[in-house]
């Protein structure tokens, strides 16, 4: 543990990928993990009220955001999803 903590910050940073430039027409693929009772219901209400948001946002229903496992978020990024939005 101690070695990690003492590793020079600069070196650690260099191993990380450089941030990409974001093209203008970028349409992110975003996953929303939403609680059945509140956030999912809110997404439904948005539709009922004909409110609009980018089509790249797709909602996955969960019984409660308590169900969220960090693996889901990691898996989404690993598979190339551009953003994860947890709402509950």
């Amino acid at each position: 543990m101690a070695t990690v903590a003492e590793a020079p910050a600069k070196e650690a940073a260099s191993s990380v990928e450089k941030p990409h430039d974001i093209p203008e027409d970028f349409k992110p693929n975003i996953l929303a993990l939403a609680c059945h009772y509140c956030a999912f219901a809110a997404a439904d209400l948005a539709g009922v009220m004909r409110l609009t948001y980018p089509t790249g946002v797709k909602v996955i229903r969960m019984p409660c955001t308590g169900r969220l496992d960090h693996i889901y978020v990691l898996r989404a990024f690993e598979k190339g999803v551009d953003g994860v939005f947890v709402a509950g």
Partner: protein, 1482 residues
């Protein structure tokens, strides 16, 4: 249960009102085996709570809380919702009532309506949205709000608009005017043409009785309905003219129509539309009758008539010109030619004129018809210089104006009638005057003067009266008053008759003496078989619209005649329906658009059309003046739009049904006070003064401004907002004397939430007393003050005025020191109180229950939910003003009372679905059936559903994909069932709307087809795709494909879930034997279950043993004695005194408890009623002087016969031990105890002096009366602040009190004989221990914390354990009793089941993976993981709610949630990550 009903009792309950209280009662009752009929006046349930934004003191979203409850009620197998209904009669006795319910038509079949709202998009009628408190509009066909249950739309149809009812042809003016106002001209014209094939002609010359009916005429001027029709045809011409309609392919019989006037042509067209082959025979060489021949071109251009005739003829109608009946052919000839029926509409072609002396026709004399025909046909008509037109009707006007155009220099009209009697329309006479034509009234013709065969003038005599007393035409003359009019042209326009020359062509036709044809007034049948007649030839000269009406009726008759139907039956007339007269209050005047006209100079010498027509903008503006009187305009656009065929405008408007029930629960709720009564506050006058309920809608995300705090006046964001409290409450002059109980808190909440929405907002609350008396309310107010900066000003606002030149508001108020202040605010919210709605008294009368003076049902402290009539229970705000949790409590309380009454007939009227055995799919490959719903056009309008089907059809395991119009419709459901069987489908995915409402429906469907119901999923491509990506077809289709693919990935992994059941021990344990415990025990026992009461004291009674009388004078000790006797004598109740609970094991339905005396009890539920204790004061010299006592000690003295002396001084100090740290809560009972004792002292000796030192007098609800009474009796009230508390010191043998008086602004010194301390309540010391025993949490003050402060006020998060009484929070005796009954009701729901079903969507534990790290035990809110006998963690699935917290935290992945397993979630995530094209970032 197994006990069979031996009595006549009915196992069903009627609930009036589907607000939160009614719904709670319905769910409790239906869940406990009683059938429920829920009657709701509106089209949907939800009550007042559904309109609220957030709730206090937790700030939860009201809709999020109530919506799942509504869904539960809506789909409960044993709750029947009777919407749009009212109770109108009630007979019978407790256990066996018959209620008569008046059901009003919804005009939509809720079974067929899918709630897609396609109709709403089409509806042209708008009205103020009641749900949005008039801040937004709704359509006539609408759903009250997005989440409404039932979800079916309803039509607001109040009757028939007056414009429609006046039109003889029943042309739907309301509909086409409304459509015109929306710019929907083609549809508007379609509506006109339904009943009027002459829109262009009628749009110019119709007598427009519709305008005489128009409600707007009572305000300013009628809508210019007539000219709007003309506009529509002008517009059509610009668009390329009329398009030939599609006529029925199959042709019916041949029919001859004689005469091509409006009657004949209308009849011909209507018959052609039905498929008949129609030939019109016309005597003249042009068609149109009077339209062509008699009406001058400057009013109705001839090319317009021609176009109109051509339009009608385009309906495949043949016309034969120059064919006169009796001259050229006979009816007999027609029959021979195969005509099956004949319609005679030859009109009145003979003008009446005065006999001319001599045989020779002198020059210069015309009759009107001849004159006009010649002029119209372009023949030469010579008109002299001096023209006299005889007649005062519309034809005379036409003649006079025509004569003027033909060169008549001096044209004069001479008529019998006086000016105001003339038959010509006022607007026609206006033109006469405009064009300089003189009218000489009250002259009768005497004789014509003829010289040299030329007319030279007319002798006239004075007509003194035209009509007799019966208003019949019977002119009387003054033969001595004579006059002479010189003239070289005289034109008679004094009437027309039938030219009966046609008679030769039809044998045996009966005529009337005046030559008109005799025909039935309804069917227009003549005495000759198959021959019908109408128009002027039957009625005499009349209007075009009358002729059109006659033509319509004849066509109907001819069709019936030829189809062999009865000619009279079911010929509905609009006039048989109720006319609706709209209230004009609050409607602004707006002037009628004037039709642009040719100037008088431009009219001279030509026949150019005078009226120039409306522009598009003018037409829309004029049409928008329509008030939309009767709600729905019956344009029928919705009918065409509804692909589910759910709309039926023909539904019977009202019908009565009888319901046989065992008990009645009245929960109709309250109305809100109308603040217009208090004009000084400016509501209804200043646009930025709103009611609190309007402000709720303003705050609501689904409200008119989508949650952005906006003021209605100018849509700006307000910064300074003022709340004015007690509008309509605590005011016996303008409103209600009582306190509405909720306004202080909701105003505080609104201020806080507004601030959360927009940090810039500066809220101020103007109030009298801050009544934050409920659980955790004081803390909330403190937070509002300290954390949110809400400014509280203890003063009342005397007036609200708009600042001139702005829409800001100036408030005038006095500060406590008396100085007057004017302050400007951007928005003013009136905290309007609650009051019984206008039907409250009527409902009481129907039920035969006693009502109080304030129109609340009479109830008592000890029986707070019982009405005066057995078997009828009252609840919620109908019983008295209260907030949501108390309403919910009473909902469960009345359920409990009903269960106690009807316990033995449970399960006798409920239904249970019989289902086929489940198919075993183990070992089968997944075989998916995918149904992509169009939802009418809701989805298909945006998403290309065919492409979605195409995109997923080749995915492995998908064996069937299809697109369905409405997947939720009955036929689609049947199809799904059939396909499951045919194709061996074992998992079903529907891509349609939200799973939140539709999953249970489809689950039932697949279960009926033998599949486990958990083998189903919904992909939401409506709410979360088509509706939020409208107009983006490509993108939305891609997203829909994506969503379906994600769900397919999950569905492949679905597994059947077997749900288990556990047995229930039908016995209840009650901990605590006070009033709450005893009440709850009695109610549970009355329901038919055994009860054990455990009381740690030696005797029952609890804190109430120290109470003697209540505020309303009821005897507490007598009540207590009787309750103890009831409990101890009840065969089902066992009382254990002097013991406590040692420990309890088990779970809902199966608890085992051991008492300290060793007794073991098995039971299914637990009710905790451990009560509270009185605070023992240490302040104010309590322990140092015998004359410092508590209220309870005083009460005992009074009870023991205390006789106060004259001038004896009692000073009471409130809030002792309450509302300050560390006890920052209100004990709720002390204000009333002080008032109660003060009144008692004053009544015993008015000369005794009582002063009450208080912080806020919290005599909420109806208790306010006693506060007023105490003031009237001379009790002195002095307010103090917590930072300037009163000082008590000894002064000789008296006590001296010093306190700051805020009104006098100086210290007040009082000497007193007695200082009485109003001490607060504390939770009972055992609370902590009991809390630990049952792992139930307590709030910081030590009171038990319920599962949900609003909707589950007597439940604990752990199932099967309930709470009531002072253990929950300080409360009054009646509130304790209500809550105790509620706990009994909730317990009854559990105990009434032999077995309880465990939910399928729960966490499953793989015990072999578990390392017993205890993470799950720490995080589970329901206590379902436990340490088993092996010392390892096990999982009690009965307690599990399936939230998945355990699964999220478990490092070993030992927990998985059914339906949300990791493999399923990851499959969806993987599918979501798959992109059609590569990501843009490489």
């Amino acid at each position: 249960m197994s006990e069979k009903a031996s009595s006549n009792k009915k196992g069903s309950v009627l609930i009036i009102g589907g607000g939160i209280g009614g719904m709670q009662a319905a769910l409790d009752l239906a869940d406990s085996g009683l059938k429920v009929h829920l009657v709701q006046k509106e089209s949907s349930i939800g009550g007042m709570m559904s309109a609220l934004d957030k709730t206090f003191p937790t700030g939860d979203c009201a809709m999020c809380m109530i919506s799942p409850k509504m869904v539960d009620v809506g789909r409960h197998l044993n709750i029947d919702i009777h919407s749009c209904s009212e109770m109108v009669g009630l007979k019978g006795d407790a256990g066996d009532f018959t209620a008569t319910i008046l059901k009003k038509a919804r005009y939509v079949d809720p079974k067929k309506c899918t709630g897609c709202e396609a109709c709403v998009q089409k509806c042209p009628v708008t009205a103020d949205s009641e749900f949005n408190q008039e801040l937004a509009k709704r359509t006539a066909i609408s759903r009250r709000y997005a989440q409404a249950v039932p979800g079916a739309v309803a039509i607001d149809k109040k009757g028939v608009s007056p414009c429609r009812i006046e039109c003889p042809a029943e042309v739907n003016a309301h509909a086409y005017v409304t459509l015109t106002a929306r710019g929907r001209f083609a549809e508007a014209l379609e509506v006109v043409r339904r009943n009027n094939p002459f829109p262009a002609s009628c749009g110019r010359v119709c007598a427009h009785p519709c305008e005489s009916g128009c409600r707007r005429k009572d305000l300013d001027d009628p809508v210019s309905i007539c000219y709007l029709k003309r506009f529509l045809t002008d517009w059509e011409d610009q668009q390329g003219g009329f398009k030939k309609p599609v006529l029925p392919a199959e042709k019916l019989e041949k029919i001859a129509v004689i005469g091509s006037g409006p009657a004949g042509m209308t009849c011909a067209r209507d018959l052609a539309l039905k498929g008949y082959q129609v030939t019109v025979f016309e005597k003249m060489s042009v068609a149109g009758g009077m339209l062509s021949l008699a009406i001058p071109g400057y009013r109705l251009p001839k090319d317009v008539v021609k176009k109109e005739i051509d339009t009608i003829l385009a309906h495949d109608i043949e016309i034969k010109y120059n064919q006169a009946l009796g001259r050229d052919f006979t009816v007999e000839d027609l029959k021979k030619q195969g005509y099956q029926s004949v319609y005679i509409a030859v009109g009145t072609q003979k003008a009446i004129r005065m006999p001319v002396p001599g045989d020779k026709e002198p020059e210069g004399i015309y009759d009107c018809l001849d004159f006009l025909r010649k002029a119209n046909m372009g023949e030469t008509v010579t008109v002299g210089n001096k023209v006299v037109v005889i007649g005062g009707g519309n034809v005379a006007v036409d003649v006079a104006l025509t004569a003027k155009r033909l060169g008549g220099k001096d044209v004069k009209m001479v008529c019998l009638e006086k000016c105001d009697e003339m038959p010509a329309h006022e607007w026609e006479l206006e033109q006469v005057r405009e064009e300089g034509i003189a009218i000489d009234n009250s002259w009768g013709m005497d004789k014509l003067r003829i010289e040299n065969n030329k007319v030279t003038g007319l002798d006239v005599k004075r007509c003194v009266s035209v009509f007799d007393e019966n208003k019949r035409f019977s002119p009387k003359y003054d033969e001595c008053a004579l006059n002479f009019f010189e003239a070289d042209t005289i034109i008679f326009a004094i009437g027309m008759g039938v030219d009966t020359s046609f008679k030769k062509g039809i044998e045996g036709l009966d005529l009337m003496p005046n030559g008109r044809i005799k025909a039935d007034p309804i069917t227009y049948q003549t005495n000759v078989e198959g021959v019908f007649a109408g128009g002027d030839s039957v009625s005499g000269p009349s209007t075009i619209i009358q002729a059109i009406a006659a033509g319509i009726q004849a066509a109907e008759s001819i069709d019936r005649f030829l189809r062999g139907k009865d000619l009279v039956v079911d010929r509905h007339k609009l006039t048989e329906r109720e006319k609706y007269t709209k209230d004009l209050e609050g409607i602004k005047k707006s002037p009628r658009k004037r039709m642009p006209m040719l100037s008088v100079a431009e009219r001279e010498g030509n026949f150019q059309e005078v009226a120039l027509g409306f522009s598009e903008a003018d037409a829309i503006e004029e049409a928008s003046r329509c008030l939309s009187c009767a709600g729905c305009c019956e344009c029928m656009m919705c009918v065409a739009e509804c692909q589910a065929k759910a709309i039926n405008h023909e539904m019977i408007a009202e019908e009565n049904i009888d319901l046989n029930i065992g008990a009645v629960i009245l929960a109709p709720g309250l109305d809100k006070y109308d603040p217009k009564v208090r004009g000084e506050l400016g509501f209804g006058r200043w646009p930025n003064v709103v009611t609190s309920l309007q402000f709720e809608r303003i705050l609501s995300a689904s409200g008119p401004y989508q949650g952005v705090v906006t003021r209605p006046g100018d849509k700006k964001h307000p910064i300074k907002i003022a709340w004015i409290q007690c509008v309509g409450s605590r005011d016996k002059h303008n409103a209600n004397p009582w306190c509405s109980s909720v306004c202080c808190m909701y105003a505080t909440k609104q201020a806080v939430i507004a601030k959360e929405h927009d940090k810039r907002i500066e809220p101020t609350i103007f109030y009298m007393d801050m009544r934050a008396y409920g659980k955790d309310f004081d803390k909330y107010v403190e937070r509002a003050k300290n954390e949110y900066g809400v400014r509280y000003l203890r003063t009342m606002v005397s007036a609200v005025r708009e600042e001139p030149g702005t829409t800001d508001l100036n408030l005038r108020y006095a500060l406590e020191d008396g100085s007057l202040v004017n302050e400007t605010f951007d928005l003013v919210v009136l905290s309007v109180g609650l009051e019984p709605h206008k039907d409250a008294a009527k409902l009481g009368e129907i039920c035969g229950i006693e009502m109080s003076n304030y129109l609340f049902p009479k109830t008592s402290t000890f029986e707070p939910v019982d009405s005066s009539r057995p078997g009828i229970f009252v609840t919620g705000t109908y019983q008295g003003p209260k907030d949501i949790p108390e309403t919910v409590m009473q909902g469960s309380a009345v359920a409990s009372q009903s269960m106690a009454l009807l316990g033995e007939v449970r399960w006798t009227e409920t239904i249970k679905k019989e289902l086929p055995p489940e198919r075993d799919i183990s070992g089968e490959e997944p075989r998916l059936g995918v149904f992509v719903c169009s939802c009418g056009i809701n989805i298909a309008g945006t998403v290309d559903v065919a492409r979605v089907v195409e995109a997923v059809k080749d995915i492995p395991n998908v064996v069937h994909v299809e697109n369905t119009l409405y997947t939720c419709s009955q036929d689609s459901q049947e199809k799904i069932k059939q396909l499951i069987k045919e194709k061996g489908i074992n998992r079903v995915l529907v891509a349609s709307c939200t799973p939140r409402t539709h999953t249970p429906l489809f689950q039932d469907t697949i279960r009926e087809a033998g599949l486990n119901k958990y083998l189903f999923e919904l992909a939401d491509i409506r709410e979360q795709c088509s509706w939020c990506h409208m107009g983006q077809r490509e993108e939305a289709t891609k997203k829909a494909i994506w969503l379906v693919k994600m769900m397919i990935a999950k569905v492949k992994l679905l597994q059947p879930i077997q749900t288990e059941t556990v047995g229930v021990t039908p016995r209840c344990l009650v901990i605590g034997g006070g009033v709450a415990g005893m009440t709850t025990a009695l109610s549970v026992a009355d329901q038919g279950f055994d009860v054990h009461i455990v009381e740690r004291d030696r005797e029952l009674g609890g804190l109430a043993r120290n109470l003697y009388y209540t505020l309303d004078g009821s005897d507490v000790q007598a009540f207590l004695r009787s309750r103890i006797t009831q409990v101890t004598n009840h065969p089902r109740i066992s009382v254990h005194t002097n013991v406590e609970v040692q420990n309890t094991d088990g779970f809902v339905g199966n608890f085992q408890t051991v008492l300290t005396d060793g007794t073991e009890i098995d039971h299914g539920t637990i009710i905790i009623t451990t009560g509270g204790v009185q605070y023992q004061p240490t302040e104010y010299l309590y322990n140092e002087s015998d004359n410092v006592i508590t209220q309870h000690e005083l009460e005992k003295k009074i009870f023991d016969g205390l006789q106060p002396q004259a001038n004896e001084r009692y000073v009471m100090i409130q809030c002792v031990g309450s509302r300050e740290e560390p006890n920052q809560y209100c004990s709720r009972i002390c204000c009333q105890d002080a008032i109660k004792n003060a009144i008692e002292i004053k009544e015993r000796n008015p000369k005794a002096q009582v002063a009450i030192l208080y912080r806020d007098m919290r005599t909420y609800g109806l208790r306010e009366d006693y506060y007023a009474k105490a003031r009237d009796l001379g009790v002195l009230f002095v307010r103090y602040d917590v930072d300037k508390k009163p000082q008590v010191e000894k002064s000789g043998n008296k006590l001296r009190i010093r306190t700051w008086d805020y009104l006098l602004n100086k210290e007040l010194v009082m000497d007193a004989d007695w200082v009485v301390l109003s001490t607060g309540l504390r939770p009972h010391p055992t609370t902590e221990k009991v809390g630990q025993l049952y792992k139930v949490t307590r709030n910081p003050d030590g009171y038990f914390l319920e599962a949900h402060v609003k909707l589950r006020p007597v439940d604990f998060p752990s199932e099967g354990i309930f709470v009531s009484g002072l253990a929950h929070a300080p409360k009054n005796l009646d509130e304790t009793i209500s809550q105790a009954l509620a706990a009994a009701g909730r317990a009854g729901v559990v105990l009434s089941h032999e077995r309880l079903a465990v939910s399928g969507l729960i966490a499953k534990q793989k015990r072999e993976l578990c390392m017993s790290c205890l993470s799950c035990m720490r995080i589970c809110p329901f206590g379902s993981p436990y340490i088993d006998e092996d010392g390892k963690v096990s999982h009690n699935e009965i307690k599990c709610h399936g939230c998945g917290l355990c699964a999220g935290i478990c490092p070993a992945k030992a927990f998985q949630v059914n339906g949300f397993r990791d493999d399923q979630m990851l499959a969806m995530i993987d599918a979501a990550a798959e992109r059609e094209e590569d990501g843009v970032i490489n």
